[in-house]
């Protein structure tokens, strides 16, 4: 009895210890946020104690100074290559707030942004710092701008009503409001960040700024949830053309637009994958039909990173992801590559071999754009602005990269245009031209045309999205064969003319795979039956053996008249 009790209590103790060790998950953030927003904040500047600021200063010197600079002016060591630029704390302008447009953020706003970082920028989340440390950092951040110590400018958080349920009506209403309130001027009709003024946007410091692609909420700087979207719309983003709608629209309408934006993607996280499956199509692939023939093929989304490995680096590729679909018929395989681009640039020329302007020159050229005459009014005459811009010599382009020879084993060509030993086959589409071209890559410095005419394709640009179809015979003279049931490495590159990308300066993906799904997927029935029968035979043999030996032992016992229990063999 006692031993049982001890055992029980020991188990209980163990459970408690485990629970304590692992730590209960912390409460949801928006609860804290809401609590803060609703509470009465005293109109005293919350600047923390001297000790807190000192502690924050130490942490700042270790973790933050590299980007935000010693003076907090956003001019750190790293700033050179960063876009968006690191926040300049001296201006007191912060994007992600719970306070009205133009106002300072609350302390909690600063804490939150340090805690969770800004997705798809170089500002990371800092989950490992303690609450105390983050708070101290926030206090220290405030020392850079004198505004924080002024009593009048103590921020008063806006009210954030609880989210109403999202219904098809609210979404429809949101769509209407979205159009009526001019959101589409920057964000585009389908939210792809391709509005007519998108290409002219500048932030307060005169740097070009891209309108958010509303179909990819995971890239939202303020967070992907409906609450985040609503907050951004309510408060606006200080220092950017994004205005506050707190006064212009009542909360219900803002929620409706939020619902519409949330419905554009349907997911808060990107479904990145590593495989594109080419489905078999019975009908011959007809390029004239465009994207519709790909309806049966699953969509694979691959993340795009900047080409920062070879000289001619691009630290801020315009596209963050491509989606790919593939089908094949008896003769050919076709890949549909789609990505979002705020503007179709079809006036220049593109070529993977074109030299890239030196990084230093590009860096030097960037801030040259003077602050816009009236940054507060981004909607001023978008058509005129577009007309003024001289035709760019940079051009949109896309390339699919596959190995020239099917890899044996693990060996693949280098993922940036191959290497000297293992070359790659590039299907390159200069989107100013009607047809794709082919190149052979043996490293990014050694790309030569190898146009056999095997690859054909069509490209179209619609509402901020490029759709490019490449088609090639399954077995072509110019490259590796696509075999049903086989995997092939595949990689993609995207050039954005608007961001002056060409040659090595581009966005690219690592190696992923394309799988040519056989027309008939092998059935599992045969192996299942074999396994089951095999096990059944073993079972019956074991049972038979046990019964037989038991019986013979019993017989022996009967003969000997012994009373031993049956001998068993382990």
């Amino acid at each position: 009895m006692t031993s049982r009790l001890i055992g029980l209590s020991a188990l209980g103790y163990l459970a408690v210890v485990i629970a304590v060790l692992c730590g209960a998950p912390s409460g949801p953030m928006e609860a804290q946020l809401r609590a803060l927003a609703l509470s009465d904040v005293e109109a005293q500047p919350d600047l923390g104690t001297e000790a807190q600021r000192e502690s924050g200063k130490v942490l700042y010197a270790k973790y933050c100074v590299q980007c935000h600079g010693e003076k907090g002016d956003g001019a750190g060591d790293a700033t050179l290559h960063l876009l968006p630029r690191p926040r300049d704390f001296t201006t007191g302008k912060f994007k992600i707030r719970t306070t009205p447009s133009g106002a300072l953020p609350t302390h909690q706003d600063l804490v939150n942004i340090i805690r969770r970082g800004m997705p798809y920028t170089s500002m990371p989340a800092w989950p490992n710092l303690s609450d105390q440390d983050v708070s101290n950092l926030a206090y220290y951040t405030k020392t850079f701008s004198p505004d924080f110590s002024v009593a009048e400018s103590v921020p008063k958080p806006l009210e954030f009503p609880a989210a109403p349920a999202s219904t098809s009506e609210t979404i429809a209403l949101g769509k209407k409001l979205y159009e009526e309130n001019g959101c589409l001027k920057c964000h585009g009709a389908l939210g792809r960040g391709d509005g007519p003024s998108a290409s002219t946007l500048l932030d307060d410091l005169g740097y070009p700024i891209r309108a958010a692609d509303l179909t990819q909420p995971w890239t939202f700087r303020g967070g992907p949830t409906r609450q985040d979207i609503f907050r951004t719309m309510t408060t606006g983003l200080n220092g950017t053309p994004m205005p506050s709608f707190a006064d212009a629209l009542p909360a219900e309408q803002r929620w409706a637009i939020t619902d519409f934006i949330a419905s554009l993607s349907g997911s808060e996280v990107p479904a990145y994958t590593n495989l594109v499956v080419a489905k078999h199509a019975l009908d011959p692939i007809d390029l004239a039909k465009g994207a519709e023939v790909f309806a049966s093929a699953p969509v694979a989304r691959f993340p795009i990173v900047g080409q920062i490995m070879e000289p001619g680096r691009q630290f801020n590729p315009a596209a963050t992801s491509v989606t790919v679909q593939a089908i094949y018929d008896a003769e050919s395989i076709a890949l549909l590559v789609r990505w979002h681009d705020s503007r179709a640039d079809r006036t220049g020329k593109a070529d993977p071999t074109l030299p890239v302007p030196l990084e230093e020159e590009v860096e030097a050229a960037k801030p040259a754009a003077a602050p816009a005459a009236d940054p507060a009014d981004p909607f001023a005459d978008p058509a005129g602005a577009a007309a003024e811009a001289p035709p760019s010599e940079f051009n949109d382009a896309v390339a699919i990269q596959i190995p020239t020879q099917a890899p044996t084993g693990a060996r693949k060509p280098y993922f940036i245009f191959g290497d000297a030993q293992n070359s790659v086959d590039l299907w390159f589409f200069d989107l100013a031209r009607p047809d794709p071209l082919q190149f052979t890559g043996r490293g990014s410095a050694d790309v030569v045309p190898n146009d056999t005419g095997d690859v054909t394709g069509v490209a179209s640009y619609d509402q901020g999205e490029w759709s490019v179809i490449f088609k090639r015979p399954l077995r072509a003279s110019s490259g590796v064969a696509f075999v049903p049931g086989g995997f092939l490495p595949v990689a993609f590159s995207v050039w954005d003319g608007f961001s002056r990308e060409r040659g090595n300066s581009r966005g690219l993906t690592a190696w992923y795979s394309v799988y040519v799904e056989p027309e008939v997927v092998p059935s599992a029935v045969g192996p299942m039956v074999r396994t089951a029968l095999f096990l059944l035979v073993i079972e019956l043999a074991v049972i038979g053996w046990v019964r037989w030996s038991r019986r013979s032992a019993a017989e022996r016992q009967g003969r000997e008249g012994g009373s031993h229990p049956a001998a068993t063999r382990a």
């Binding site: 693990a410 053996w545 037989w548 030996s549």
Partner: protein
């Protein structure tokens, strides 16, 4: 139905070894190839040849086992510092290339005063440099006090590259048959 012990033991041994063999199949399989070899390309420049020649001197050629570069004092074999200057002037009318070639193919032809003969033949086993490799060595030797001029197309008394001009007149009779006349296939230790 008793199975003999010897059969059981054999079964156990078989099953155990099979099990470990199976464990060996479960782990990642990777064949490690020897380090890649540089290939003497037909289009090597003289500068490339100097580099390869230097490596050959240390590695496959075993030259530095006996010779030194830039050492003085009581030496057992001639020091090679400035050897190109000496080679071009030692025998009147003989170019440094011919001098080096003869020294390498027929080592006892020239014995520097004060040293004993003892150099092995370079183009035969155990060292066995190919004719192209010897050209590289000559290129390297030329840098020691001179300017390298040889290319893979250079011919000398002992070797005529395929399609190259015949050896300069007055050279020693050829006694080394070029066995490997395809430069692209001659591997060299890096």
């Amino acid at each position: 139905m008793t199975i003999p012990h010897s059969v059981r033991i054999a079964g156990l041994v078989l099953v155990t070894t099979a099990f470990y063999g199976y464990v060996g199949q479960l782990v990642p399989q990777r064949e490690v190839q020897p380090p890649t070899e540089t290939v003497l390309r037909a289009d090597m420049t003289t500068a490339d040849m100097v580099k390869v020649g230097g490596e050959l001197m240390v590695g496959k050629g075993l030259c530095m086992t006996c010779h030194t570069i830039g050492k003085s004092g009581a030496l057992r074999f001639p020091d090679l510092e400035g050897v190109a200057t000496r080679a071009s002037t030692r025998i009147p009318g003989m170019s440094e290339i011919e001098y080096f070639a003869k020294s390498l193919y027929a080592p006892d032809s020239f014995i520097v005063a004060g040293f004993n003969p003892g150099m092995p033949v370079i183009n035969k086993p155990p060292i066995g440099l190919t004719d192209q490799e010897i050209l590289c060595v000559i290129a390297f030797l030329q840098t020691l006090g001179g300017t390298p001029t040889v290319t893979l197309q250079t011919s000398h008394a002992y070797y005529t590259p395929p399609g190259g001009a015949p050896a300069a007149p007055g050279g020693a009779p050829t006694n080394a048959t070029p066995t490997n006349t395809t430069p692209a296939q001659a591997p060299v230790t890096r």
